[in-house]
Every structure is written in C-alpha cells, then in structure tokens.
Amino acid sequence: MILQINSVTKNFGDFTALNKVSIQVPENSIFGLLGPNGAGKTTLIRIINQITGPDEGEVLFNGRHLHSDHISMIGYLPEERGLYKKMKVGEQALYLAQLKGLSHHDARQRLKKWFEKFEIEGWWDKKVEELSKGMQQKIQFVVTVVHEPKLLIFDEPFSGFDPINVNLLRDEILELRKNGSTIIFSTHNMASVEELCDNIALINKAEKILDGPVKEIKRQYFTNSYQVQYRDKNGIAFQMTEPGFEQLSSVLEEDICTATYRLPASKGPNDLLAVMLPFVHVVAFNELIPSMNDIFISTVNSVNANHILES
C-alpha cells in the first residue's frame, strides 16, 4: 500500500467535508476516486497533498505519516488548474519543477525530454496566453509528472482535451503505471474509469460508500442478467414462461427482438438458452455486466434514499 488513509475526518466550521473516510491505494495501480460534486473528493486530495490537514485520522505514505519530504514524491494536477498567463512557458515550467524540488539543471533536462516527446519544443519561449486551452493542458500535464513522482493525482484530467489528446493522455497515464507510478484518478467520466482503473472508492456526502477492485465490484453488482437478440420461429412471438426467469425488457425492431432476462442464482446462461432455443433463432447473446455508471448512480441513489428515510 503506497497510501493509507485511516478514518480521516475534516470539518470546516459546522460543515463536515469528510467523515471517517478510510482508503487504501495499492502501489503501481490506478485508483479511481469517484463521487458526486461536493462529496469531499477535493478535500481528500488536498489532504493527501498537504494543502490542508485532517482534523482526525491519519494518512500514511509508504507506511510513514505524511511529511513535507513527501511533497516531491507526489504530483498533482488539480481540477481548477491554470498557469501564469504573462509568463513564458519554459520559464514557468522550470519554476514549477523547481518548486517540486528539482535542481535548475535537472529540471531543464527533463523538461526538454518531455517537450520533445510531446513535440512542443517550439512553445518554450511563448507566453502562456498565446496558447490554446488544450496546449496549456499539455504543459500542465508535463509539469505534473516532470519530477517523476511515485504518486500522481489527476483531478478530472481529461476535461478540456480534444479526443486525440485524450488518447495521448490516456496512453501516458498507462505508461506511467507501467513504469511503476501509482495514480489516483478523480473523474465523473465513468467510461474512462472502467477503462483505466484497477480499484475505486466511491464517496458520497463526506462518507465512503463503496470501495474495492473494479472487477470485484462489478461481480458484486452482477445480477445474473442476460441480453438476448433473436428472431421468432414461424412468426409466433416468444413468451418467457419459465418460473423464476424474469423478463426485464423486450423491444422489437424490424424482425429482431432484443430482450433482457434475470435468472435465479442457481441458473446460468445455458439454462436460458435451453429454454429459448426451441422457439427462437438466437442472433446475439450477452452477459449484462453492470457499467460503472449504473453502479455509481444506483449506489448513490440508494444511500441518499436511506438518508432521507432516516431523517
């Protein structure tokens, strides 16, 4: 575990931003920090970055309490990000890299490598205000990773990027993991969570409501449901009559029907096919794996509903 957050609480006056939140981030993985707006993600990230301190609980980095030495081992790309507009790109990148503890010489060499990699060497002497937003985002990404931190925190990294740059950035993030970095990734984009994250934690209203490896969570939320696309045999519409087999939906389009079924725990896909094959031509068959999007919405909604019930 590169990062252990144990029962962290943070209050701002009467407002509780985090309530006894515990999270474990394994080394060399991509960790998704999810939650609705205002759930407390940014506060948690700021605590990890030592911008603010927890009221209660502890944060361990590599097994040690957070210390100012750790600042140079963490790279942070905040959601609210920007650069000095009037400053030149190169000067600014050097400045920010040095603030992370690199020497002037090292900073310059590493920045040069990154600028070459992204093919942006020509920007070095330009003022930031001359660059487009997407270009500025690239600079910010470079500045975040230039000191080769062990832990990287990206807060909505893809916002403001065009699809080409999103791909570029995603590839970079995957490569960073390959090279041994750990990445905490906070986003509302559930598709990228499914694509990238190994583990997630879901925070809602200052509390953690779900966490674990993505695969396991998906298995937990798997309802033994399947989607079947079929053509009716002999023009007779198929009706599911098998006891315990619940039809969730059925849509007929042209001559192909798309239907979803939930099976009892004791049954499997073969049982469903055995029931249907005598009556229909199966065109396609899929396990209905819940998307992170569904999991996010259903979990948050059920927790909020409980809150309302309690109060």
């Binding site: 006056g13 970055n49 911008i51 301190g53 609210e80 990000r81 920007g82 650069l83 000095y84 603030l99």
Partner: protein, 471 residues
C-alpha cells in the same frame, strides 16, 4: 527555505521586467526632480523686494550683507526690544538679530518674522556669516601655525609658507551657523518655529512610505488575485505552504519597491545635476568649501589679519538646492535613514500581508472594495493627520498615532526630524513589529483558506470562519 527564495525570485523578476515598472521608474524621477527644481525656479522669479532689519551686536556682519534684487538689508542700532517693536510698524520683512556670545565668536543668529523666511534667504545669511567667521578663524589659524613653525616671525617676512590644506586647519575653521527662527504675530508673542527643511524631510519621508505602501500593497493584492483567477494557486500550494507563497510574494514585491526607490533616487540626482548644468544661472553652485580653492600652499600675505585670498568667492544668488542638501545634515541623518528604512519596511510588510489576505478573499478586483476600506482608512487618516502633526509634533494625538502600528509608519516619520525621545521610538518599533506579526498571522489564516475558494462571494462573517478553521 529554498522554495521561498524561488518564489521571491520569480516575483521580483516578473515584476521588474514589466512595462509598468519601467515606465514608473522613468516617470517617478521626473516628478521628483521637478519637485526640487520648480520651487527654485519660482523663487528665482520672485520680484518684490524684501526689507530686512539687521541688529548686529557684534558689528562684524552688518556691512557684509549685500543688497540684491530681492532683499535690502538695513542696519539698526537700537536695542532688541525696540527693534522688535518697530519691526511691526516699519513694514520690514523680518528682523535678523546676531547676539554677542561669550566667546565673541557668534555662530548663531535669530530671525524674528511674522512669515517663514525662505530657505533661500536663510541660506544666504548663514553663508555670509559662516564665510565671515571662517575668514577670521583662518587668519587666527594661520597666525598660530606660523608662530608654531617660526617663532621669530615678523610681518613682512614672506619666506614661510603654510599648508592651508592641513587637516587641522580645515577642521578648525569649519563653521556651521545655526539660525533659529521665531515667528512673531501681531500681538508680539513669539513662538519657536521649525525650519521648513525639518518639515519637508518628515513629510516627504512619510508621503513616500504612504505611497509605497499603497502602490506595492495593491500590487501584492493584484498578484494574489491573479494567481487565484488563473487557477495556478492550487498547483503551487501542492508544492509550498500557503504561508511561504504569501510571504514570498510580499517580500518579492518589497524588493521590487526598494529597487524602484533606489533607481528613483539615482535618476533624480542625475536629472537635477543635468538641469543644474544646463541652467547654471538659476542653479548657481556655491563653493561652500572656500578652502578648497586654496589647495596649493599659498605664500603668506603681508598682513595676516584680513587674510582674504581671492580664493574666497562672494556667494550670492540662488543656492537653494545646495541649501536643501546641506540642511539634511542638520537633522540627525543616521537616525532618519535607519528609521525610514525600518518604518518603510515594516509598515509595508504589515499592510502587504493584509492586502494579500484581501486578495485571497475575492475573485476579482471589483470585489475588493468592501475589504479595502478598513485597511486603507488608517493609512489615509495618518497622511491627513500628518499635516496637523507637523504643526504640533509633540501633541498627544501625534504620540498615540505614532504608537499604533497601522498609523505609526507615516506619523513617526513626520515626527522624527523634530526629535523624538528614544523610548518613544523604541516603543513604537516594538508595537510595529508586534503589529506586523499579528497581521501576518491573521492574514495567513485568511489567505490559506481564501486562495482555494472559487466563485464564492465572501463577507466578513465568512472571513471570521476562515480564521477559526484548523490547519
């Protein structure tokens, strides 16, 4: 600590490279130089003749004052009392009284006038007097020197020469004439009035401090707002502590201010010198060090007593500028400079921290108004009250305002040229340092929360909450 240095460096370099800095650096000295030059220019155009009664009890000087286009000197021989009475009736501009002292070498004079005598005039009077005195002293020194070297000396023997540049002679004959001014009103009562230079020095120092606090305090505030609106601040505070960022900015801007200040002084001197060179008539340079010209050892003149080698040049006309510079030496310059630097620096640091806190609490310049008021009111108040303090630098108002940290930088600078007891200065300094620490502590608390608050209108209740947040 290395990081705060990086912040200071960035702050300094970006500000110094700005066009506005360069423009101000050029415009400032032009304004300041014109402040020096204009009064001289105007004074040189003054044309109504002034009548000055001279009551010279020593009899040494009365005949030496030469009438010129501005002044006519009239010697009076009555007693002081009558002279003062007739001053009112005769329409004389002023009465110059040179009393006899025990040593028979007067080095002071008193001016009675219902108006403040101009610097120009005072410079002239003290110039004439000190020249006259130095002449006498020089003669005496030369006589002593010769007697020491050649005991058998008789006048007329011109084989002995004396090095007039010898340090003892130069030191011994150096004379500073002090002129005290008493203001007389119609009722005949007298009130000791301070010289304009004292006032001007204090006022200029306090105005400078006031200007710098405002100009550079506002720069700190705008810098903080810029970092907040450009959203770079969160990246930076993930590398350094908010306190370091704030102090780095405040100190960086202070260095920019000092740089500008020094450049101003340098350029002002250059401009004044250039103007002097271009218009020698208006700005005649005086040879205050008459002995300078007698650099070579001159052969001894036949009669020693009126040792008036032609090296001693008559000194008339406008030497206001030199007078201004010379007058500085009458004030305790060391105390003045140290006090100025201290109040300049700590006054700025105190306000700079507060301005940083204001910048952190708002999203744009327009929102600063509500928070600016309580910070700027003491500052504006102090510069307004400064006029009153000049008239009465020992009043309770002056005392208390020079103790309160928010007003002391301006008020104390007004008072110091008039002479302030050491314990008062010490107390004021202590309070200012405490005030600076307190303001910085408070500002840091507001700052560290404020810089990360986006798009939220803050008010005083909000700020109070921020102050109470734990780390």
């Amino acid at each position: 600590m290395n990081k705060i240095f990086l912040i200071i460096q960035r702050e300094y370099l970006t500000k110094v490279k700005k066009r506005s800095f360069i423009v101000m650096t050029i415009l400032g000295p032009i304004l300041m130089a014109s402040l020096f030059i204009l009064p001289v220019y105007l004074a040189s155009r003054q044309d109504d003749k002034q009548l000055i009664s001279v009551l010279d009890e020593t009899g040494l000087f009365a005949s030496k004052f030469e009438n010129n286009e501005n002044y006519t000197f009239i010697s009076v021989t009555t007693g002081l009392k009558e002279a003062k009475e007739t001053l009112m009736k005769s329409g004389s501009y002023m009465l110059l009284h040179i009393p006899v002292t025990q040593l028979n070498i007067p080095d002071n004079a008193i001016i009675y006038s219902d108006k403040q005598p101009t610097l120009n005039l005072k410079g002239y009077i003290s110039g004439v007097m000190s020249r006259e005195l130095e002449k006498h002293k020089l003669a005496a020194e030369i006589r002593n020197e010769i007697l020491r070297k050649t005991p058998g000396y008789k006048p007329g023997d011109d084989t002995t020469s004396v090095d007039l540049m010898s340090e003892t002679i130069l030191k011994n004959i150096r004379t500073d004439v002090q002129i005290t001014t008493y203001k007389t009103d119609k009722g005949g009562t007298e009130q000791k009035s301070y010289t304009e230079i004292t006032m001007v020095v204090g006022l200029v120092a306090s105005i400078l401090i006031y200007m710098f606090i405002f100009m550079f305090g506002a720069q700190v505030m705008r810098g903080v707002i810029e970092e907040k609106t450009s959203r770079i601040v969160e990246v930076i505070v993930s590398s350094v502590k908010p306190f370091q960022l704030m102090m780095g900015k405040v100190i960086g801007v202070a260095l920019v201010g000092l740089t500008q200040f020094l450049l101003w002084i340098a350029f002002t001197f250059i401009i004044i010198t250039a103007v002097q060179a271009a218009f020698p008539q208006q700005f005649k340079k005086t040879q205050t060090e008459q002995t300078k010209i007698a650099g070579q050892s001159i052969a001894l003149p036949n009669e020693v007593a009126p040792a008036t080698p032609n090296s001693i040049t008559a000194n008339t006309g406008n030497d206001e500028l030199n007078e201004v510079f010379e007058a500085f030496s009458s004030i305790n310059l060391t105390v003045m400079i140290i006090a100025f630097l201290f109040y300049f620096l700590f006054g700025y640091l105190l306000y700079g921290a507060l301005f940083a806190a204001i910048g952190s609490a708002v999203d744009n310049d327009a929102d600063t108004q509500q928070f600016m008021l309580p910070v700027t009111v003491p500052l504006i108040l102090s510069i307004v009250v400064a006029q009153t303090v000049i008239q009465n630098p020992e009043s309770p108002l002056a005392f208390w305002l020079s103790m309160i940290p928010l007003t002391s930088p301006v008020i104390m600078m007004v008072r110091i040229p008039f002479g302030v007891p050491a314990w008062e200065i010490a107390l004021s300094i202590t309070f200012l340092i405490l005030g600076f620490l307190g303001a910085t502590w408070l500002a840091a608390k507001i700052y560290r929360t404020g810089i990360l608050m986006y798009g939220k209108k803050s008010n005083y209740r909000e700020l109070w909450k921020w102050i109470r947040y734990k780390g």
